[in-house]
């Protein structure tokens, strides 16, 4: 059983890596050659939203200016102390001019540039922008996974899912970040900068994918033993696909009761997991009602496959040391039933 | 290399208590403690701002009587301390000893008053952040009065044994600076812990 369970973490399979359709705006930027071939599904350098693009452009501007300042400063040092060794010293006046130009004027220009761009871009990226944001999602940081609660206009929860955030393309979704344990930080670099989920606070983050695609994000605030493997996926899809997805997520489990459900309940999985429409209503772990619809398990650590599911259940801490779920080693037949059932939770 | 003597130190004062580096040192200690108090009081207001009600629902602000007694006793003890120093400057060992002893006594009385007041607190340190900060600020000051009292008690013993002379009174001078601080810092604490909840 164990050998089947032995899982490989990662994102090797091609269908997991959806190529960005966004024209690489940055390829024209200076120094892009440094990074060619490194575009990723979790990278601030491959913006898939207006917010991330603005910041990426800002990064390139700042980087280019920094290189320029660096070269000038080091150049002056090299020339002054090296090449002109023992020749003419700077007069008091030229020295003063040098210090004022390099040490006062240049920084002041830099400060103004940083300030103006920072406020302008900050305003853009942190603001609601278009009035009447349609979609509000509560993103709850857990140790060490994410709970996602889709709300309707009245603020009632429509659907609960985990670790896979679906968003309609071209719409600005409002993410409300919560935590009832330690501080986490929600970071999907292709879409938006990060914001912390802090107990006692309700921080807000806007996400607005410009293109269809699948990206990965990761918790960015150190939150304990498995901060490392606290990832999540973001899926941006057209509005109608999104609606269909949300409707499914809102429904009870679609799988008919099967022997696997009894195994699930007998093993005590229901003490921690909810499968809507069954007696399983635990709150400690991710909602599994539509587990099979998700691309990954264990917080974007493993692709969602039968083998990985089996590995996760039977050898949880090999996959994710410290995860707050015990391993279970059921009878082989029971495990098959259980996996059949879990795979039917579309 | 030849040496040119520009300063002759033979006749310079060796016992100058009011310009002694230790005097500056104690000032440094006072600056640190003042920064600690400022941080504590800022934390008090920060926590207050984070909470809808401060003190929390159902908790009464601390009573004014005992703190006010302390507010009288501590300056009084500073006055006797100052008076003792005057005596010491003149070489009057008796005035020094009496003054210092009076200060210690007054401060001990202040500690007693403080203890009564602590016993009356409506909030415990472990049920709300309000109680925690109240107790900690109080405890911080209490500890400082205790250490000032202990240190000064040693000075008093030395004074009665006739150790201090006008040249050799650094201990008194330094102890007095610290004493002023411990007494004086009670005023902001008083205003924040006891008056502010009634005004805000």
């Amino acid at each position: 059983m164990r050998s089947e369970g032995k899982a490989k973490r990662g994102f090797g399979s091609p269908q997991e890596r959806v190529r960005l359709r966004l024209l690489r705006l940055l390829s024209s930027a200076p120094f892009a050659f440094l990074l060619s071939g490194c575009q990723g599904i979790q990278s601030a350098l491959d913006p898939a939203s207006r917010d991330a693009r603005l910041v990426a452009e800002l990064s390139w501007w700042m980087f280019t200016s920094a290189v320029f300042i660096y070269i000038v400063t080091i150049g002056l040092l090299a020339v002054g102390a090296g090449l002109f060794r023992g020749r003419k010293r700077l007069s008091f006046r030229s020295s003063t001019t040098l210090v004022i130009l390099g040490g006062v004027c240049a920084p002041i220009i830099a400060i103004i540039a940083i300030g103006v761009s920072g406020v302008a871009i900050g305003d853009e990226t942190e603001g609601a922008r278009e009035a009447g944001t349609a979609l509000t999602i509560e993103v709850v940081g857990k140790q060490w996974w994410w709970e996602l609660r889709y709300l309707d206009e009245a603020g009632e929860v429509i659907a609960v899912t985990a670790n896979e955030l679906h968003l309609p393309v071209g719409e600005r979704a409002r993410l409300e970040l919560l935590s009832d344990n330690v501080i986490h930080s929600f970071w999907a670099p292709n879409l938006q900068g990060k914001t912390d989920a802090i107990p006692g606070r309700r921080n807000v983050l806007f996400a607005e994918p410009a293109v269809e695609g699948v990206w990965r994000g990761q918790c960015a605030e150190f939150c304990g033993k498995q901060h490392t493997l606290m990832g999540f996926m973001v899926v941006a899809e057209p509005r109608d696909e999104f609606n269909a997805w949300l409707e499914r997520q809102a429904s009870d489990a679609l799988a008919p009761p099967a022997p696997g459900l009894d195994v699930f309940l007998d093993l005590g999985c229901g003490g921690c997991h909810t499968i809507r429409g069954t007696p399983a209503d635990g709150q400690k772990g991710p909602d599994l009602t539509h587990l099979a619809s998700r691309r990954t398990i264990a917080a974007a650590t493993l692709p969602n496959s039968r083998g990985n599911l089996g590995g996760w259940i039977t050898d949880t801490h090999e996959v994710k040391p410290g995860a707050l779920m015990p391993s279970f080693i059921p009878e082989p037949q029971d495990l098959h039933d259980l996996l059949d059932y879990l795979e039917a939770l579309h | 290399m030849k040496a040119r003597v520009l300063v002759d130190a033979s006749d310079i004062d060796r016992f100058a208590p009011h310009t002694h580096p230790l005097w500056w040192g104690i000032l440094g200690a006072v600056a640190i403690e003042a920064a600690v108090v400022a941080t504590l009081l800022t934390s008090y207001f920060y926590l207050a701002a984070q909470n809808p009600a401060w003190p929390p629902e159902g908790v009464a602000p601390p009573d004014l009587f005992w703190p006010t007694v302390v507010l009288v006793l501590l300056p009084l003890s500073s006055f006797t301390m100052w008076w003792a120093g005057k005596g010491s400057d003149r070489g009057d060992q008796r005035q020094l000893s009496i003054g210092v002893t009076a200060s210690v006594t007054l401060a001990v009385l202040a500690l007693v008053a403080r203890s009564f007041q602590i016993a009356e607190f409506d909030a415990s340190w472990n049920d709300h952040a309000y109680g925690s900060i109240l107790w900690v600020i109080t405890g911080f000051h209490y500890t400082h009065v205790v250490s000032a009292v202990s240190g000064t008690a040693v000075v008093a013993v030395l004074a009665w044994r006739g150790y201090f002379t006008p040249e050799r009174q650094l201990g008194v001078v330094v102890d007095t600076v610290y004493w002023y601080f411990v007494a004086g810092v009670f005023l902001p604490i008083y205003l924040v812990l006891y008056i502010a909840p009634r005004l805000l």
Binding site: G10, F11, E16, L35, C38, G40, S43, M62, I69, T73, I74, L77, G80, G86, R89, F92, S95, T96, G102, G103, P107, I114, G122, N181, I183, S185, P189, Q192, G193, K194, T195, P199, F222, Q226, T228, G322 | M1, A3, R4, V5, L6, D8, A9, S10, I12, H20, W24, G28, A29, I32, A35, A38, D127, H128, A129, Y130, S132, V136, L158, G171
Partner: protein, 648 residues
């Protein structure tokens, strides 16, 4: 004195006398009597009673570098673990402990104490004092540091080290989420270091303000001394904040206070504000003395007076003051109002002005000079190359929208290693090469030094430059591994390779130091032709520092003396008692003479009592009163007047 920036004379160290004739100045008999008065007791027991600043300063430096090597090796362990995706060399528990101990120890046990050590060793010499104002307090501070630091590393060996990161955020550090003693050990260790840093700060301030040699008015003080003064004031006002924070946390864990418990009115952000109100100045506490070191070396090796003395003093003081208004730039992602963050964005980038002024003052000083590229100067060049890059990324992360992308990512890791290594470690290495001859009487090997500097410089950039890119590519910090297929593998492997090169470079210096202690060429009093007073004493310094305390008439006493062919001194200090001049605050006119205490074991005993109290606090609150009165008792013995002085 000539106008600022105009060359006075070229300084050729070959023209320096190899000894300034210390014995001849007062005669053999007086010389020996003075040296006996100031001698530190030898032997194992004697070691615990030494109080001279040169002994204590050296101990601080050596201990700090031992901790540097240990934490550096932990850095290597992290690099090994991160060399490839899904590596299983370290468990998450082990990694988190190693990461926390590396960060905490580098900051609290290496960088600050090393700077304090250099300050304690050099500053009294530079101001021409015979010792520090409170030698016993100095010793006390050292023992507290030694005990606290050793206990901290011991906890790692025992596998119970803290594992919540070097800034130890709550609620993760609360007892609900961090059981065991790890975090308690962290708070306790912080308390030790606060105590030791505060004692050092107070006595450095008093020493610099009151014990300067006659004539050394404030505007004649070497920049290094200014830097130490600013550092000490920063410690004075920054440490209390973390002191309060760690006390709150200790109490939350120990006696159930509710400072950080949201359910009962507490606030996790209170911790962040308190920590960073200290934490930001802290990084400049590390930087500022390093700037002083850089200035000393630049002046000496360009052989000409500093350009822009006043500008530099203002810049350093400005950095010190402004740094107290920037802390929120570590909290850009906590959801504070954007308006407020914009203010801190402006304030943070403003630090570029004083930093830039300094950089360009140094360039102006070096410009066209007969710069001697000896090893200390090479380290300063490495400092330029690395620190400026780190400073520029610092200005980048000061931008709110940019920081929201790179905060808590490897970009920040790259930023702070550039500024910490560039701004602190490189100058410290320069300081070692610069003052080693003074402290030991031996020269370090130049060839090994050049090799070490080059290797470190190259290794450093290979290690940390890729981290900028990794951060932008989405790699968060404090992860013990990363999943496959995100494209981070190669850069990480490169970084790991660089780290070993880096270690090799440091190993060369270590070897150099150990070898030169015995085999190095004998150093003259002023091997580099320096202009400040530490070069006026013997190498290694006399027990009394100066057999006759110097009198100062300009910013560059050594160069003046050389030109005049004679030096200016104080006479009339006792030969049988530890005496040093006390001067006025601003213009250093003689005011009185301070009689310093001699060797004593009480600071050690007192430090042990305090440690007993602090460490006990991890287990029970009762150790608070116990420790309090134990320390009080030892203090009474410490200060109890045993030899009533008589006026001479």
């Amino acid at each position: 004195m000539t106008a600022v920036g105009i060359e006075t004379s070229g300084h050729d160290p070959a023209l320096e006398p190899s000894s300034y004739g210390h014995e001849a100045a007062v005669g053999r008999e007086a010389f020996e009597r003075i040296e006996r008065t100031w001698r530190s007791p030898a032997g194992f027991v004697g070691w615990f009673t030494q109080v001279n600043h040169s002994a204590i300063g050296l101990r601080f430096i050596v201990t700090a570098f031992v901790f540097f090597i240990l934490s550096g090796l932990l850095g290597l362990a992290m690099r090994l673990q991160l060399a490839m995706p899904l590596n299983e060399m370290l468990s998450p528990e082990a990694y988190n402990q190693i990461m926390t101990v590396h960060g905490t120890a580098m900051m609290f046990l290496f960088a600050i104490p090393a700077m304090e050590g250099v300050a304690i060793y050099v500053a009294p010499l530079m101001v021409g004092a015979r010792d520090m104002a409170f030698p016993r307090l100095n010793a006390f501070g050292y023992y507290v540091y030694l005990i606290g630091g050793s206990a901290f590393f011991l906890s790692l060996a025992l596998g119970m080290a803290p594992d919540a990161g070097w800034f130890n955020y709550v609620p993760l550090a609360n007892k609900t989420f961090s059981e065991g003693y790890g975090v308690d050990i962290w708070t306790t260790m912080i308390t030790f270091i606060e105590l030791s840093a505060l004692t050092a700060a107070v006595e450095l301030i008093v020493t610099i303000m009151k014990l300067r040699a006659p004539g050394m008015s404030l505007d004649r003080m070497p920049i290094f001394v200014w830097a130490v003064l600013v550092m000490s004031f920063m410690i004075l006002f920054a440490m209390p904040s973390v002191m309060v924070a760690s006390a709150f946390l200790m109490m939350d864990r120990l006696v159930d206070t509710q400072f950080f418990i949201v359910e009962n009115g507490g606030s996790p952000l209170l911790w962040q504000h308190l920590f960073w109100f200290f934490g930001h100045p802290e990084v400049y506490i590390i930087l500022v003395p390093a700037l002083g070191i850089v200035t000393s070396i630049v002046v000496t090796f360009s052989g000409r007076p500093l350009f822009g003395y006043t500008a530099l003093v203002l810049a350093i003081t400005g950095i010190g003051m402004v740094s107290f208004g920037l802390w929120v730039h570590h909290m850009y992602t906590t959801g504070l109002p954007f308006m407020g963050r914009s203010f801190f964005m402006a304030a943070s980038s403003m630090i570029a002005i004083p930093s830039g002024v300094q950089v360009y003052c140094w360039i102006a000083t070096l410009w066209g000079g007969k710069v001697r590229f000896a090893t200390p100067m090479l380290w300063v060049l490495a400092f330029f190359g690395v620190f400026i890059a780190g400073g520029l990324t610092g200005v980048m992360v000061a931008s709110v929208p940019f920081d929201r992308q790179v905060h808590d990512s490897y970009f920040v890791v790259a930023h702070f290693h550039y500024v910490l290594m560039g701004g602190a470690v490189f100058p410290l290495m320069g300081a070692i090469y610069y003052w080693f001859p003074k402290a030991t009487g031996r020269m370090l090997s130049e060839r090994l030094g050049i090799g070490s500097c080059l290797t470190v410089f190259v290794g450093f950039n290979i290690t940390f430059f890729p981290m900028h890119i990794l951060g932008l590519q989405g790699m968060p910090r404090r992860v013990y591994t990363y999943v496959d297929g995100l494209g981070w593998g190669n850069m990480n492997l490169l970084a790991t390779f660089g780290a070993f090169l880096l270690a090799l470079g440091f190993a060369l210096t270590l070897f150099n130091v150990v070898r030169s202690l015995r085999h190095g060429a004998v150093a003259p009093d002023n091997p580099w032709g320096g202009s400040t007073l530490e070069w006026a004493t013997a190498s290694p310094p006399l027990n009394c520092n100066f057999i006759q305390q110097p009198v100062v008439e300009s910013r560059r006493p050594m160069w003046d003396w050389r030109e005049a062919g004679s030096r200016t001194v104080v006479a009339g200090l006792s030969e049988d008692r530890r005496e040093t001049m006390v001067t006025t605050l601003l213009d250093a006119r003689p005011q009185s003479v301070m009689v310093l205490p001699g060797p004593t074991p009480w600071p050690f005993v007192s430090a042990v009592a305090a440690s007993f109290g602090f460490i006990g606090l991890i287990f029970s609150p009762w150790f608070f009163p116990i420790g309090f009165f134990a320390v009080f008792a030892t203090m009474v013995f410490w200060f109890w007047p045993r030899h009533p002085w008589r006026k001479k």
